[in-house]
C-alpha cells in the first residue's frame, strides 16, 4: 500500500461534501468522492453480500468495491440502532476475503466514553491524526450538512413547479462543485448565501393549492435517491410537493430522537429500534399538518420498519390519510414502482375533489 491515505465513505445522498471537508481538513488525508451509484454498483454489492441482508448493505458494499478499484484505501462505516452496527465488521471481512488491502474505520468499534478508544479508532484513518484539528473541523462539517439539507428541502418542495425544467438542478450542481473545494467556514456562509439566493430566483409556477406528500422510511432507503428509484424526483415530476425530515440534520446535527419518540408516544410507547419511531412520528407530523399522502420506503426485510407498518395503518385510519408502502431489494421492477406511484397520485387528487 502506498503511503498516501485516500478515505471514502459510501455514497449517501449529497453528504460527500461534508465528509470531504472533515477528512481533508480534520484528518489531513485525501478524500475520494464515491463514484455515483449505478446498476453496476448494486450488482457488485449483491453478488458479494449475503442474500438476505438488507439493500443498504448491498449498496455500501458495491460502493466500497468501486472505491477500492478507483484507488481508495481507507473505508468506513457508521453505527446505528439495528443490524447496521454489525455491517462495518461484516463488510470489512467480505472485502478482506476478496483480497483487498485497506484500512477500515468502523465507528461501531468506538467506545464514546473512553478517550483512549476514540483516539485509537481515529488513528485507523491517519496514524498521525490530531484530535485538535478534527474537533476544529467538526463545526464546519456540521454546518455543511445543515446547508445541504436546507437546499435539498427547498428543492424537494419546489422542483416540481419549475417553469424551465432542470434549472434548479443546474444551480445546485454549480453549488456542489464549489462546495467540494471549500476552504473554511467563512467561505461556506458566503457560498450558501449566494446560491440560496440563486436557487430562490429560479422561476416557479406554483398553484395556490398543491398536493403534498411526506416521505418516511428506513435511514438509507429514504435518503439515497438511487435506492428508492428516484421516487422524490418522480413525485415532483407529477407536480407534488415532497417533504422528508429524515436527514443528517435531524439525526446528527440536531438529534430529534427524543422529540420524535415523544411525538410518536400515542402510537408507539416503546423504542422500536432503528428509525421506526422516527417513521411513526414523522407520519404523524405530516398527517397533523394536513398533507395529502404518506409514502413509506424501506429495504426488504428491515424489521423495525415492518413493525412500523401496522402503526402507520392506524394513523392512516385515524387521520384519513393514505399511506403507501414500498419494499425494495436489489431487484424491483421499475414499472411496478411507477404504476403504484401513478395510482397514488390519482388517488390523492381524487380524494381532494
Amino acid at each position: 500500500m502506498n503511503n498516501e491515505i485516500v478515505a471514502c465513505f459510501p455514497q449517501w445522498a449529497n453528504y460527500s461534501h461534508a465528509f470531504k471537508y472533515l477528512f481533508e481538513h480534520g484528518f489531513d488525508v485525501k478524500y475520494m468522492t464515491p463514484p455515483p451509484i449505478t446498476k453496476r454498483t448494486l450488482e457488485l454489492g449483491s453478488k458479494n453480500s449475503p442474500d438476505y441482508v438488507c439493500a443498504p448493505f448491498k449498496y455500501c458494499l458495491g460502493c466500497y468495491i468501486e472505491a477500492l478499484q478507483n484507488g481508495a484505501n481507507c473505508l468506513m462505516q457508521i453505527f446505528g440502532a439495528c443490524r447496521l452496527n454489525y455491517y462495518g465488521e461484516l463488510s470489512e471481512q467480505i472485502l478482506r476475503d476478496m483480497g483487498y488491502n485497506f484500512h477500515f474505520f468502523n465507528m461501531a468499534n468506538i467506545k464514546w466514553t473512553s478517550p483512549r478508544s476514540i483516539m485509537e479508532n481515529l488513528r485507523v484513518v491517519n496514524p498521525e491524526v490530531s484530535l485538535v484539528k478534527v474537533v476544529k473541523a467538526l463545526p464546519t462539517t456540521l454546518r455543511i450538512i445543515k446547508v445541504i439539507d436546507k437546499f435539498d428541502n427547498y428543492i424537494r418542495h419546489n422542483v416540481g413547479f419549475e417553469v424551465k425544467e432542470g434549472e434548479m438542478e443546474s444551480v445546485y450542481k454549480e453549488f456542489s462543485d464549489k462546495l467540494d473545494n471549500l476552504k473554511n467556514g467563512r467561505e461556506l456562509s458566503k457560498l450558501a448565501k449566494t446560491y440560496y439566493k440563486k436557487i430562490k430566483q429560479v422561476q416557479l409556477n406554483k398553484p395556490a393549492k398543491t398536493y403534498k406528500v411526506g416521505m418516511v422510511g428506513d435511514y438509507y432507503t429514504v435518503q439515497e435517491p438511487f435506492s428508492n428509484y428516484f421516487m422524490e424526483k418522480e413525485l415532483a415530476k407529477m407536480g407534488m410537493e415532497v417533504y422528508r425530515d429524515m436527514n443528517l440534520t435531524n439525526t446528527l446535527v440536531h438529534n430529534q430522537w427524543k422529540k420524535r419518540k415523544k411525538t410518536a408516544k400515542k402510537y408507539a410507547k416503546y423504542s422500536m429500534g432503528a428509525t421506526a419511531n422516527f417513521t411513526v412520528a414523522e407520519t404523524l407530523m405530516y398527517a397533523r399538518a394536513g398533507m395529502d399522502g404518506i409514502i413509506q420506503v424501506k429495504s426488504f426485510g428491515c424489521t423495525p420498519e415492518i413493525d412500523a407498518m401496522p402503526v402507520l395503518q392506524n394513523i392512516s385510519r385515524d387521520y384519513k390519510i393514505p399511506v403507501l408502502h414500498f419494499s425494495f431489494d436489489s431487484q424491483t421492477s421499475e414499472t411496478g414502482v411507477k404504476t403504484r406511484l401513478e395510482a397514488f397520485y390519482d388517488m390523492v387528487v381524487a380524494r381532494q375533489k
Binding site: T38, K39, R40, T41, F300, M309, P310, Q313, S316, R317, K320, P322, H325, F326, S327, D329, T335, G336, K338, T339, R340, E342, A343, D346, M347, A350, R351, K353
Partner: protein, 322 residues
Amino acid sequence: MIKGYLGIDIGSISTKGVVIDNKNNILASEYLWTEGDPMGAVKRLLKVLEKQLKGKDVKIVSVGTTGSARKLIGVMTNASVVKNEITAHAIGTTTLHPDVNTIFEIGGQDSKIIIIENGFVVDYAMNTLCAAGTGSFLSSQAHRLGVPVEEFGKIALTSQHPTNIAARCTVFAESDLVHKAQIGHKKEDIIAGLCKAVVTNYINNIGKGKKIKAPIVFQGGVSKNVGVKKAFEDAVGCEVLVDPNGHLMGAFGVAVLARKSGIEKSFSFDVADMEFKTTGFECPKCANHCEIICVFKDNELIDSWGNKCDNGAVKINRRNNG
C-alpha cells in the same frame, strides 16, 4: 354514426378490449391470451373487435390503454389516455357499481385490493414480491392436477372438507399440495383447499390492515373461479359480487377514462395490419446500462424510452400524427 371509445388492458397473461358508446354501453368486447407478445395480441384483439362492430356504424374516436404493456400499446394505437391499472379498475367498477366499497382483484401475475369511499379510491395495495395467490399459480396447479383451470371452481364446490394447504408462499404451497395428494387426500378437497389458500394468502398479505367493507366486488380473471369466490365469501362473511364483465373491468375503466378525457384522436383498425417492431439495446454511455426500447412503425422510429438520463435519449423526428 355512433362515437365509440376503445379501452385495451394488456396484462401479462391476457389481453382485454372493450368498445363503449357515450353512455357506457359495451358495444364489443374480447378477451384473449397475451402469449408473451403484447403487440401481436393487440393486433388479434383489434381484428376481433372490428368484426364485432361490423355493420354497427361505430367510429372509434378515442383510445385508452392500461395494464403492464400500456405504454407500448399506447404508442401503437395512438392512445389519448394511458393509465395505470389500479385507477382503471377503480373507475370501471365504480361506473358499474357506484356503491362499491371494496374491490378484490386477482389477475394473472398480480393481485390488488382497492378501498373506495363515496366513489373515490382512498386506499389500495398491490402484491409486491411474490406470485402466490394469483391466477398463474392456480393454473399451474390445475395443470399439475390434470384439471382444466376452467373446471377448477366447479370441482372445488363439490368438496365437503377442503384440505388445508400452506398459503404463505407458492413454493411451500406447491410442496404441501404434492404431499397432501400423496397421502391420499381427495382431488376435490385439494382443489377446494387451493382456492382457500389463495384467499388466505390474499387476505393475509395485501388485505392486511385494510378496512374490508361490503359491498365487495371481486374481479380479474380469477373471479371466474366460483371456488375462489366461495372461499372469499366464507372468509369475509358476506356476499361477494362478481360482475359478468368482471374480467374486462380494466379495459372498460380505461375506455370510460378515454371518453371522459374529451381528447379525440384519429384511430383506425388498420393498425392491426401495420408492422410494429421494437428493438432494445443497452445504452453504453455509463455503468447504469439502461435498457432502451425503440418502437418502430413501418420501420420508422416513433418512440423510445428506458433512459435514466439525457445521455441515453434517442433522437426522434416525431411526426404530428395526432
